[in-house]
Amino acid sequence: MIHQSLMNILKNLVCKTRGLPLLKLGTVFAVLLLPCLALAQDAATQAMSVEYRDIPGMGSRNLIWIVAQQHLLLAGFVLGVPIFAWVCEIVGWKTNEPRYDKLAKEFTKLLTSAYATTALFGGILLFLLIGLYPKLMAYLTDIFFPSFIAYCILFLFETATLYMYWYGWDAMQGKKKAFHLFLGFLLNLFALGIMIVPNAWATFQASPVVVADGTDIERAWAAMQNPTWWPVNIHRLIANVVLGGFICGAYAGVRYLLAVSREEKEHYDWMGYVGNFIGVFGMLPLPFAGYWLMREIYQYNQQMGITLMGGFLAWLFILQAMLIGVLFLGANYYFWMGISYRIPGSAQSYKKPIMAMLIVLMVCLGVWMTPHSLVASLEEARKMGGTHHPMLGVFGVMSAKMTVSNLMILVTFMSFIMYWRAGKVETAGWAKIAKSVMGALLVIAGIAVIVLGVWGYFVPAIIRINYFSVAQVLIVLFIMVTFTPLTALLMKSAKTTTEMVWGQMPIRAGYSLVLNAVMVILLMSLMGYARSSSRVHWHIYGVMRDTSEYAYSPALGYAAAFMSLNTFLFCLLVAFIFWVASMGGDKSKGPQKEEPKGSQEKLPEGLTPAMAGGSPRKGE
């Protein structure tokens, strides 16, 4: 059975190689791995006798760690990019602006380049898992085999759809555009399937359910529906968009730094802006999805929740706060630079709000990073009367952290709204009332979040978790879902006072885009380690114990060094893939040569009206 599934995966690899140099490269590599089939066959027959194999020197777990991390990060990228590439294409189709279509095509180009490498690492990971962890893989295969078949079929459909979507881009313009958009929808649908099926395998390891008797399909379906499956699906779906957005942003940032011509600078400045916008857009609801996941983990097994939040992994969440904090600061900084450099004359008028936002973000980050128990010497601990600081100790608990994370989301959202409104004057008669209502709502929301946070100290934990924290999340979500359409309505009739200038951003803007991408990659690596380590010494929590010499979870410092290595390798890999992909492009054309006739050419070079998520044509 394993042999059969391997053959299917290899067929997939071979099938999707036609036309793309990287895909061919992947196929050649996969063929070179054919001897592993023998290993797989061997593993299947010996599964009962051999529990583990090791890689001398390096260790089997370290090798799996590197390969799995590269595969997961690449997979996150290739599953996240089609979502916003498709949305970009729809925007271009609806607004009749070819540059959105062009951007969507550029995103898809990056996707096709990364797709084969993702599959390649998936194949390597599979072979390594079968070879190094035969007992575990035999157990999972016994339960999940029908889902393996479903996965292969989804992969075939995804590959076929990606071919048609990519190669048919130019051919399916005009009347055929609707069909091309339908292909984009299918691509995302299959991508969703490809993501949620393996998620079931991984979440089953963390939150297994008892698999009763029944047919193979019934058993696989029962195991898939484990308590953390859907929380992880939703969390990963959003996180993939964030990862994809920030990586595209970083790609644009590097291209911006390397750009020589003005046209290139303008194009990659705009692309970087869109990438950052997508990343931030996805990042805002991400903590809510993370909160839901943690809640489910606590509900499933309190001990696992305690291991994560209060056990040996507790300090990990301080590092997580640092990374998220830097990411929030980086994303906001990029917005603020956009206001200062792209909208001439705005720097002075927005100086005070930007300063206020920066202070709020820094204070919130300080609270979020305050640990519950301080690292203190015996003498220091005696002076403090314990490991809890007499004053800062109150910031170390969940009530404070939930409050500041919600405030940071609120500030970032307002940064985005500020950017959207910069350089424009509202002309609608009801604009003044709307702005007053929005201002009042914002103040009330901020106060309500803080009051609930402080009140949370005086109620039982279950009340805080079930009601107060949920209320804080709902308040922030309410602000986001009411302000966005209201601002869009206001901006529809707004008069542009200052034209937006692209390609004028300083060099540090490019670096901030790279920093954001690195933070997201590190965050995904860190939380992957947290999820894996929360199973402690179990391959399948409470069901199959890890009896290998690597059953321990390494300390945070060692793990962080490994995450850094993985992140660096991933950056190099992505840079290589994008470099190879860029060799296929026609540089002589220049990125802005296909700009639409009309409004763009009437404007001075580099000028377009300011608008969040891109700029409309002049006069619209």
């Binding site: 499933y300 590092l319 790279v514 890890d546 009896t547 962080a560 060094a561």
Partner: protein, 202 residues
Amino acid sequence: MSEVALLQLIGLSVVGLGIVILLFIKAMFVRVLGFVAMVLGSFSLVALSVPQMASLPPAIESFDIASVKTPDDLASIGQKIFFSKGQCALCHSIGPSESARCPDLAGVGAKLAPEFIYESLTDPQSYIYLDFRHEGLPEEYPARMPYINKNPIALSKPEIFSVIAFLQKMSGEPISIKVEDVMDMGQEEKSVKMASLKDGAL
């Protein structure tokens, strides 16, 4: 040199290399790589400055029926099986729980006879219970009871009776399972296995 000190040294070197690249190298792509290296090195150094705790696995305990001397020993083994190999705690709780997806087993050892519990574990479809712990009509529990004596759990007869002994003990009941009976079951299972192996060989 300790592992932490070595990693700190590597982290510092990486940060230093990043700074040198940013100061002296003009090629933009290399400068970006230097910047990334500096960020990653700094992250590692921060992570190395917090308390370093590895999570070590507890010693593996074996369920050796032969070592059982008293009913309490039996119940103690049953408790371990309940929370590990038997996977009972994946669905059942002992005492009220919001997350339990199957009946609460508190006091079950006092309410039900060992034979009945044994039948419920090995032939779970004989008696179907519904969840009455809410308003309105009773509902089926979210998880179905598996056959405990079959794969993937596959507890042996002595192991199942050890779990029943544990259920009796935690219900405050005197343990009615006899150690000698459990020993006999173990012997019986061994001889059945031997016989089937011989049949297979023939």
